[in-house]
């Protein structure tokens, strides 16, 4: 795209963003409002019931007083009107207690299963994930629920609908985890989950509304959208955290089916793999008590990655990663760096590569301007990268602005320049600029 066209397009998007921002409604008080309104309605019902009780009581007292002859009233001091009244009031009190108890039990634990999720749509001179396309596009619609199935048994199910490069809708059982919770020590999950490495993959994943930026760093994208790491895994995962005097220590350990590269894309082999190979990994993170906005961590994973097309191209993937996250009321800073030391199998040489990003954002009321730099240097002699469609190196610079329309929706504008380097015939070198707008919500 020529520079003037690109600029005018970006300007147009900025104008659109500003227009939408001005037209945006006032922020809602909170997601509690609906719940509070329900409570209010219930309280009103209760008041109406009590009012009816009081009216009935007053009418009864008035009738009795009118019916009782004055002389008889003077002759029998034993059951005075006051005593009668207090007896009836006690009865009303008892009824109120019962109504309250009944109301409370209606709000007991069996409240159904809350369903939550995220959705995002956008427009731009390129699709943020598939740059060959341009114009308006649906990102994804994501639903998740977390049933507490018993005192120790938990579930987490996430279903994602996303639009592919050809416009078709793909459905992914993003996460299906059943777990046993060992008190405060941790939970042992079995199933398909977000692979716990670094920060981004488990912190935001499909939840674009809770991420400041408009998209993931490209090398951390999903397997079929440009990522070079297994974003999803199927296996066993133990996760938990412990609070110590110095801070909160988080830990993850997992053993999963070893992934394979199939059709140029990483596959998590969620139905199992043919050779029984596994990937083993873990993560440690620490949040100091004296600086609870900060989290730092290390991750590692290792597994034999099968090349489904060429068995001679199998690789022992060895990854070591560092991450840091600063998340205060005003400042957000994220950084992750990954070191690859892959071994060609059987008995080949080893190859070193790196990938990383740094993102800074500053929250100024509803506006959060942000900047991100991401870069990979991937050894193209490494069969692991050579076999992946997204295995070429690149670097990208991005500037963005997030505007929080309200608590649950955000509008994001991002301008970015991407440079593909050390490409091949299938993935040639080249650069392109992005001007992207996204509307992201949570519900």
């Amino acid at each position: 795209m020529h520079a003037p066209k690109r600029l005018s397009f970006a300007f147009g998007l900025a104008l659109a963003a500003a227009g939408m921002a001005q037209a945006a409604p006032a922020p809602s008080a909170s997601q509690r409002i609906d719940s509070l309104e329900q409570r209010l309605a219930q309280s009103q019902k209760l008041i109406e019931q009590l009012g009816a009780e009081v009216h009935a009581l007053q009418a009864q007292i008035a009738q009795q007083a009118a019916a009782r002859p004055a002389a008889a009233a003077a002759a029998e001091p034993a059951p005075p009107a006051a005593a009668d009244q207090s007896e009836r009031l006690a009865s009303v009190e008892h009824q109120v207690e019962q109504i309250t108890a009944s109301s409370n039990s209606a709000h007991g634990e069996d409240r159904g299963l809350p369903l939550h999720g995220f959705a995002d749509v956008g427009v731009g001179n390129h699709n943020p994930l598939t740059p060959a396309n341009k114009g308006a596009a649906v990102g994804s619609v994501d639903f998740y629920l977390a049933p507490q199935l018993g005192e120790h048994t938990r579930g987490l199910v996430e279903l994602n609908f996303e639009v592919g490069e050809d416009g078709g809708v793909g459905v992914d059982l993003e996460r299906t985890q059943l777990g046993y919770q060992f008190g405060n020590t941790g939970t042992l999950w079995l199933g398909r989950f977000h692979t716990p490495y670094g920060y981004w993959n488990t912190a935001f994943h499909h939840g674009m509304q809770i991420a400041t930026s408009l998209r993931r760093p490209r090398f951390l994208a999903f397997e079929d959208q440009g990522g070079i790491l297994p974003a999803h895994s199927t296996g066993v995962w133990f996760t938990g955290n412990q609070r110590t005097g110095a801070g909160k220590l988080g830990y993850d350990l997992y053993v999963t089916n070893a992934q394979a590269i199939d059709g140029g894309v990483l596959d998590m082999r969620q139905a199992g793999n043919a050779d029984g190979q596994v990937t083993v990994g873990g993560r440690l993170s620490f949040q100091p008590s004296s600086l609870d906005s900060l989290q730092v961590g290390v991750s590692a994973l290792s597994g034999r990655i099968e090349d489904a097309i060429d068995p001679a191209n199998d690789t022992r993937l060895n990854v070591f990663a560092l991450h840091a996250d600063w998340d205060s009321d005003a400042l957000e800073a994220l950084a992750e760096v990954y070191f690859f030391r892959d071994e060609a199998l059987p008995g080949g040489g080893s190859h070193s590569s790196t990938a990383g990003y740094l993102q800074l954002g500053y929250r100024a009321g509803r506006y959060t301007p942000y900047a991100r730099y991401e870069r990979t240097a991937l050894d193209q002699a490494d069969g692991y990268f050579a076999a992946q469609l997204s295995g070429a190196s690149y670097h990208r610079e991005a500037l963005g602005l997030r505007y929080d329309i309200d608590l649950k929706s955000a509008l994001k504008l991002e301008l970015a320049q991407t440079h593909n380097t050390d490409g091949t015939l299938a993935r040639p070198d080249g650069s392109y600029g992005d001007a992207l707008l996204q509307y992201a919500v949570r519900f």
Binding site: N104, A146, R243
Partner: protein, 136 residues
């Protein structure tokens, strides 16, 4: 006469002013089911889903819409928006659901009384049947 009225009005204003802060700074009681043993220092972790068990008892905190603003300010030190967003992230990442919301102090007390592991809070003394963990 005029000056006496002015003096009386000023005195009344002063008295009102001195009483006002006491009236506004309502107390907050955080309590749990009588079978739960907790420290006040644990409350933040309990209501943020970080601490889910007290010994062998599964904790079941519940918010109280009637006193939530005071609770967020005094215990969690955050506003309603941040509380909601923090819980969205926690729920999505860890598969933990946010506390249910009770509508009144009496509902909150009743919930904690009858729910094993139940914890909540109110702006008035909860009475018997629950253990007060903190009075703020």
């Amino acid at each position: 006469m005029k000056s006496r009225i002015s003096l009386m009005a000023a005195a009344a204003l002063l008295a009102t002013a001195s009483l006002a802060p006491t009236a506004q700074a309502g107390e907050l009681y955080v309590f749990c089911n009588s079978g739960v043993t907790l420290q006040a220092a644990d409350l933040r972790d309990v209501f943020m889903g970080e601490k889910q068990f007290a010994g062998t008892i599964k904790l079941q905190p519940a918010d109280n819409g009637a006193s939530q603003a005071a609770f967020l300010e005094k215990v969690l030190k955050m506003d309603a928006g941040k509380y909601s967003t923090t819980w969205t992230k926690k729920s999505f990442r860890d598969g933990v659901n946010p506390p249910p919301v009770k509508g009144t102090d009496s509902e909150a007390v009743e919930y904690a009384k009858r729910t094993p592991g139940g914890c909540s809070y109110s702006g008035s003394a909860p009475g018997g049947g629950v253990t007060v963990v903190a009075k703020l």
